[in-house]
């Protein structure tokens, strides 16, 4: 069946999925769409508050440390760029796992899934370190030790949004890692081999890529702009 030759009338005449994907995958897309609106609402709310305030902390002053750096580290963007690359690379290994799944290559699926899980755990560790570091500096929900760009006192909006949005994203990464671990166990116990296809990996993959996608936006909105 080639997708280009299927005419719309044939697609909607019944007997097969008009979207040409199985039910679970379509529902995963719809779930991700709703999740996109949740994240979108968070980020737009953050943008609105930022636009309605005269001053805002400088991310290059707030996020300038990295592990084992000591008190006076001044390396803005360095640690977060490492986190970004970790997530991109884990997304790539996930694509490779899905690709191996199409070829029914159990070994490659397992290897790439394991690498994806490692990437996810590495990202979570980085985030845990960063949260801990900021908390030690006095930043938390309701507490903002950082001043605005121009030296004026800042409200707690900055930390509230930062912890809420990166926390919500981190929770998504965490559940993604759990899903991937389940996928890895199912792969290793030959569940998918017996089923005859690795479509489940694809759905987990969609979720994982979405997590990466959200990070693209969070990273830009909080650390760069």
């Amino acid at each position: 069946m080639s997708t280009t030759t299927v005419t719309p009338t044939k697609l909607w005449s019944g007997g097969k999925s008009p979207f040409n994907v199985e039910y679970g995958k379509l529902m995963m897309w719809y779930f991700l769409m709703s999740d996109a609106f949740t994240f979108g609402a968070f980020l737009i709310s953050y943008g609105t508050i930022r636009f309605s305030t005269n001053g805002w902390p400088n991310p290059n002053e707030v996020f300038r440390s990295y592990p084992f750096a000591g008190e006076n580290a001044n390396a803005p963007l360095v640690f977060v760029s490492i986190m970004t690359f970790i997530l991109i690379i884990s997304s790539v290994t996930m694509v490779l796992a899905v690709h191996a799944g199409h070829n029914m290559d159990k070994r490659k699926v397992a290897i790439n899934l394991a690498l994806t899980i490692l990437g996810g755990l590495a990202f979570l560790s980085c985030q845990a370190w960063e949260w801990n570091h900021l908390h030690n500096e006095g930043a938390w929900w309701g507490h903002n030790p950082f001043n605005n760009h121009d030296g004026t006192a800042s409200s707690t909006n900055f930390t509230n949004y930062f912890f809420t949005i990166t926390g919500f994203h981190g929770f998504h990464v965490f559940s993604g890692v759990i899903i991937n671990i389940i996928m890895l166990i199912m792969t290793l116990t030959d569940k998918f081999e017996k089923r005859g296809h690795y479509l489940m990996i694809e759905k987990a993959g969609l979720y994982w890529h979405f997590v990466d996608l959200v990070w693209v936006f969070v990273f830009t909105c909080f650390y760069l702009i």
Partner: protein
Amino acid sequence: MEHTAEHEEHVGGGVKEIIKVTIILSVLTAVELALGFWMMGMPLISNLRIAVKGAIVILMMAKAFYIVAYFMHLKHEIKNLIMTIVVPLSLFVWFIVAFLYDGNSFRHLRNTYDPHFKEQSTIQAPKKEEGKSEEKKEEAKPEEKKAEEKKVAE
């Protein structure tokens, strides 16, 4: 069979494409970071700074496109599926424009009609040292307020 159909459907993928997209994403991120480093030395309010931020947002959208189109395979799905995902998301265009415009307008209104708000946002915070705890900052604040009050009384 369902899964055999699935096999043919995903011909668009392939390891070559994955590597290509990986390189594109890495390059886009590197450019974003380079712009971020460049922006650090710029004055706080300048047109160039806004232009660089705009460029970063465009790069962000490009990255999002590559992730959704190639990693999530949406480009290789049929048009019906693409439309059912992308059309509802176009609501974001209104969402972003309307809310950011509203936030900006609220700031203008407050700066124009609320002298207290305007004044609050010009008070310099006490310069604090590295690693100082929250309590000390709160201690410093009332003192500053007293100083302000004195100024007003004079």
